[in-house]
């Protein structure tokens, strides 16, 4: 049992680290990072991962080693000690510093993404002039663009279902709303998630760095159809975005005529 137990315990750090090291090869890792702050979040994840991995390996290997070494058959008594004040000080102070470093490293990125002060003030889209209002409801996503006058809630607003089209490499600010229950707007490639809260209008910003069409996932349980509440965020060039707006306007005001 002694050998089995120690090997089982030793397998945890070995296979654990191996799994993380080879995860990318199996595609069990981050999807590509396609927003300006996505690499920052990945970096912070890795930063924590390396600190955690160090502690994980040291403690798990020590555990396996102690179980192997001290479960051997012996006729003498164990070491009679009630602890060590010095050791307690060391293993309180060092992790405390490490944890505070982790905590303070995180703050800047979070402030940039979620704080009012982090929102873009230059460019076409700001909190005062959002690109669109995104409405979540059971179980679809709707996008309402402000139309020609640039003001939401007027007669020339344009609406699109399931699809949210934005220009590439531009700061996008949109308003997130929910018609019924709580939903959550999540695009894995952008590393961005924000709950849509009924009764609230929540501003969200991002800057997509690569053209393409991405899954928009509902990330908060919203009922039986939660699993299929998917949408698309389509990132296009600025010209294509303008063309899309014109096309949407033509469809919206065509009264059904082709």
């Amino acid at each position: 049992m002694r050998l089995i137990a120690s090997l089982l315990l030793l397998a945890v750090p070995i296979l654990g680290v191996y799994t993380f090291m080879t995860a990318a090869d199996h595609d069990w890792w981050f999807p590509p990072a396609y927003s300006t702050f996505a690499p920052d979040i990945d970096w912070l994840f890795d930063f924590i991962m390396y600190m955690v991995a160090f502690t994980f390996i040291v403690t798990e290997v020590a555990l396996a080693w102690f179980v192997f070494k001290y479960s051997a058959k012996r006729n003498d008594k164990g070491v009679f000690t009630h602890g060590s004040h010095k050791l307690e000080m060391i293993w309180t102070a060092i992790p405390a510093v490490a944890l505070l470093v982790i905590a303070f490293t995180q703050m800047e990125t979070f402030a940039k993404i979620k704080f009012a002060s982090g929102f873009p003030t230059q460019g076409r889209f700001t909190r005062e002039k959002p690109i669109a209002q995104v409405w979540a409801s059971q179980f679809d996503w709707r996008t309402r663009y402000p139309g020609d006058d640039g003001v939401l809630g007027t007669v020339d607003d344009l609406e699109a279902s399931y699809e949210f089209v934005v220009p590439v490499n531009e700061d996008i600010v949109f308003e997130l709303r929910s018609r019924d229950v709580i939903h959550s707007w999540f695009v894995p490639e952008f590393r961005l998630k924000q709950d849509a809260l009924p009764g609230h209008t929540i501003p969200v910003w991002f800057n997509a760095t690569k053209e393409g069409s991405y899954d928009l996932v509902c990330a908060e349980l919203c009922g039986w159809g939660h699993y299929k509440m998917s949408g698309r965020v389509r990132v296009v060039s600025a010209q294509e975005f303008d063309a899309y707006q014109a096309d949407l306007k033509a469809k919206w005001f065509s009264n059904g005529k082709e």
Partner: protein
Amino acid sequence: MNPVSTPAAPVVTHPSTGLQPGEGAPGTMREHHDHHELGFLSKYVFSVDHKIIGLQFLFSGLVFLVLGGLMAMAIRYQLAWPWKPMPGLSWMFPATGGAITPEFYTMLFTMHGTIMIFFVIIPLLTGAFGNFLIPLMIGAPDMAFPKLNMFGYWAMWPAFVLILMGFFVEGGHAAGGWTSYPPLSTIESAAPGSLSGQTYWLMSLTWVGVSSMMGAVNYVTTIVKMRAPGMTMMRMPLSVWGLLIAAFLQLFALPVLTAASIMQLLDRVIDTGFFTPTNLIVNNLTPDSFAHGMPAAAAGGQPLLWQHLFWFYSHPAVYILVVPAMGFTSDILAVHARKPIFGYKPMVYSMAAIAGLGFIVWGHHMFTSGMNPALGMSFMVATIMIALPSAIKVFNWLGTLWGGRIRLNTPMLFAIGFVSMFIIGGLSGIWMAATPVDIYIHDTYIVVAHFHYVVFAGSMFAIFSAIYHWYPKMFGRVMNETLGKIHFVGTFIFTNCTFYMMHQLGVAGLMRRTADPYAYDVYAHLQPLNEFITLSAFCMFVWQIFFVVNFFHSLFWGMRVGRNPWQANSLEWDAPSPPGHGNFDAPLLVHRGPYEYSSPEVAEDYLPQTRAV
């Protein structure tokens, strides 16, 4: 020191029975002049004996564990093979031929979480072991309020009945997640489970709260007032400390959950609108047609208010789920490593610190909820700092094993398994606490991996360990070692196979609570990994047969043992196995702490708390 020369112990009298320690046990004075046979009903059903009440909690908790486990298997089946009929189960779901429907899936994970937390782990840790161990470990004849203790268990029965009835109401049971976020949970047109299943859910949880409250009052009073002479607070086993701290958590946090669930109940039944915002349109129904035809247009409520109230209880509840488990592990490691616990006081203080910090971290469940993001910063710092007392505990457990004479029996293996896997669960928590990282990983499978490592691989392993360890005290027999070791090896392997790989799913961004994630392009490639996890989970579930067989077989045919089969120090091993009514058959005097193993003072490698030297 000569036992005769010790100062006379102050007489401790039981407040309600008038018994003194030692009275009432078989073969003692009291039995001679107050001989009475208890009938089956008063002995096993309407018992006021803390040991029987503990066993009642143990058995009902294990029954619900099977139910919660079966639900987990159904969830895993759906995630590996979505919408495929479950083999052999078409009789249960005739409409779909045995396949899981989306609304059934939402109900499954809601009730899996609810049952495992409120009907398995909390009752097993605080109900079963709290009741059984506290009086025995502090040298008391029973709880301070034995009748209240009985009511505490009986308050669970309305909860049992209501939670089971909910499965049979129209629309099925609650399906808003175990977190029950309004408006999904409060508006009837929002989900089938919100028709009336949610009402049963709320009523049931309120009863669980009543039960926990009675238990907590009892535990605190008993520990503060009824310790045997010489048993100072700093001589108590860490199990008792863990249970005391968990009881304080319940005392301060539960009233908030009870208030919140009554508010949600009122929202549902008389449209008070505490959590319902103005102007909702749910399922294309106008506000007027909500619930009972009462206008909800001006409800004026706040869905976030529920989240704050719910997590103000449910985050401390997470520590109710783990702090007693830490206590049991500390005791079991010391006994079977034949060594004093390393750093007793740091262990006590770190448990208290975990509990104290536990009250100011609830907002880390709400980083992406729309809560003021500035609050996220302070919640993040507090949450990350919880890793500090947790790390101190791990280091002290390692220190306890260092230089020991480890006996690798089943309780010890499970306790070591707890340490190994608690490290994983504790460390992965740091990712979740970090606000920017959490924007991405919030509600992904990495969270699922994290809390299963803490609550299943952690608390459940500690419960297994505690069952194997205290079984001789409960039933006077030991469980079979060979079966126990087989149980450990398989459970350890399959638990890691199941939950470790969920980290990978989470890093890939897979969302929890999604019935068929492969409909999304970004998740389609994750199905093979989910199949592996499902197969591991099935193996783990089936493997528990070794435990079930061992448990019941040993009940009747296990090897009989005496009072102290593990050669342990704490007071419960001074009582007969199983202890009679009143627990101890001789007056107790406590001379020292419970961890004097391998002491040079005596020839043996243990030195019971009651032995004078």
